[in-house]
């Protein structure tokens, strides 16, 4: 297998295991490129990529932009503030206008679930979903899987736990299909109000008790409480959430197991994760960020060369 089965990267649920293996293998090569004195290859020098961020982002946006520059692509950046969106232009019109200026690929973040999927049905260019509402964040899922593989060898047979706001999490939306496809077991843990009703139909189990869930897992991905996506109160207070579902050193020490801790960022320190865990050797949060660039280079490279 030497080509992706998909033209776009809309969600990990559409990828085959062989696609994921190919992305990981290609990311290994780019990780080596990033260690060189000159961290740049000319592969995409004839490609122009538009980064459309209709929703705020620091990490993902910088990571994509760096990945594009390391591949020598030309990039343009767009954010909805200060744009004609404010004048009432539709998403499709905005994108068609950008593509009319000979842009080859689109990286898009949008607050509406399915926005990338909608675009892919209406335009020719390759689309990479950089997070759509509460649906998927495929490059985050890939870099999570890649970072775990790097730390623990392989994903097959691992017990992968996701803690927190599963309902609003596009990271969980991508981590779950990735881990299941790669042969890991997945459990979610969090207050019942933040767990999707039919989660078990995905092949995922639910455990309301954090300590029991930690005793089960090898890797725990701690999600951020996304207050901006909660239009009603799903939890009584942040303090109560932290008390029942926050990860701290004492709790981790009481579980007699070496658990790898992940977080997609940005961390609410003291809410879902305490500093004495986030900054410890058990955490691979910064490795996740580092691997993000190599993973995004791999995705861009494989999609750009697919034609």
């Amino acid at each position: 297998m030497s080509a992706l089965s998909q033209k776009h990267l809309l969600g990990l649920k559409h990828l085959l295991k062989s696609d994921i293996d190919l992305i990981f293998k290609t990311a290994d090569n780019f990780k080596e490129v990033l260690q060189r004195p000159i961290k740049k290859v000319p592969s995409l020098r004839d490609i122009t990529i538009a980064n459309l961020f209709f929703e705020d982002s620091t990490r993902t946006r910088i990571s994509f932009e760096l990945a594009e520059k390391r591949l020598s692509a030309d990039t343009i950046n767009f954010s909805s503030s200060g744009s004609a969106i404010k004048k009432g232009e539709t998403l499709l019109d905005t994108v068609r206008n950008i593509l009319a200026m000979k842009v080859d690929m689109i990286v898009m973040r949008h607050s509406s679930s399915g926005a990338a999927d909608f675009l892919s049905q209406n335009i020719e260019a390759s689309i990479i979903n950089a997070g759509d509402g509460t649906h998927e964040h495929p490059t985050q899922g890939l870099l999570d899987g890649y970072s775990v593989r790097e730390k623990l060898g392989e994903l097959k047979g691992l017990n992968f736990l996701i803690i927190g706001d599963i309902k609003h999490s596009r990271v969980a939306g991508s981590d779950i299909p990735l881990m299941l496809k790669m042969g890991a077991k997945v459990k979610v843990c969090g207050p019942p109000t933040l767990i999707p009703k039919y989660i078990e139909e995905l092949g995922v189990s639910y455990e309301p008790n954090l300590k029991k869930a930690l005793e089960w897992c090898n890797v725990a991905n701690v999600l951020r409480i996304q207050l901006e996506r909660m239009d009603i109160k799903f939890i009584p207070s942040l303090r109560e959430y932290s008390l029942f579902y926050g990860i701290n050193r004492e709790l981790l020490n009481s579980v007699k197991k070496n658990i790898t801790i992940m977080h997609p960022g940005p961390v609410n320190r003291g809410v879902e994760l305490n500093s004495n865990v986030a900054d410890s050797k058990q955490s691979i949060i910064l490795q996740q960020v580092e691997n993000g660039v190599a993973i995004r280079m791999a995705v861009l490279y494989l999609l750009a060369n697919r034609n």
Binding site: K25, R36, P37, I38, N305, R306
Partner: protein, 181 residues
């Protein structure tokens, strides 16, 4: 056309020994030199050259790296599928070094053009020389020449030159055939 053997195992070994002595003549004890094999097929030749040099000079201190040039190629968008890279393994700086670039067959010169670009991303070498086992001298697309050549052959485009190694193909052999395989 029947496949024609250009070098059998015995002749190949003699050629490799000669190439090694030519290298030693130029590079003395290799203290300022580094061997770089081009992935994927050039690495088999580079492995042999490296081992032979280490044996003749009785040292383990020769710098040896492997270079993949996939991301530097000029034809990747012309192929129907993305080209998948091999491992690049260069753990030392190439700054100021005398580089011996090694590939099995020199044909159009485009691979070596890409390799020269790739090498510069690891530092600025003092100079770069090229060693190849087979030089198909009539097919060059670029002004690139090897300094050390195992054997020069005249061939036509439809002919293919294959280099087999004991490690992967069962026997050491260089042979020529018509058409695709």
């Amino acid at each position: 056309m029947q496949p024609r053997v250009i070098l059998d195992s015995k002749k190949l070994n003699i050629t490799l020994t000669r190439l090694c002595h030519q290298l030693i003549e130029q590079h003395k004890d290799f203290s300022e030199s580094a061997i770089i094999g081009v992935q994927p097929r050039g690495v088999f030749l580079a492995d042999r050259i490296y081992k032979k040099l280490a044996q003749i000079l009785n040292t383990k201190n020769i710098l040896y790296g492997k270079l993949d040039i996939t991301f530097y190629r000029d034809d990747f968008r012309l192929k129907s599928k993305p080209m998948i890279a091999d491992k690049t393994d260069i753990t030392f700086s190439l700054e100021g070094k005398n580089i011996i670039l090694i590939d099995d067959v020199l044909y159009t010169g485009r691979t070596i053009r890409s390799a020269l670009d790739a090498i510069l991303d690891f530092g600025r070498p003092a100079d770069v020389e090229l060693l190849v086992l087979i030089d198909r001298r009539l097919h060059r697309h670029l002004p690139i020449q090897a300094k050390y050549v195992g054997q020069t052959i005249d061939s036509i485009t439809s002919e293919k030159v294959k280099v087999d190694w004991k490690e992967t193909d069962g026997a050491d052999k260089v042979w020529m055939t018509e058409g695709k395989d």
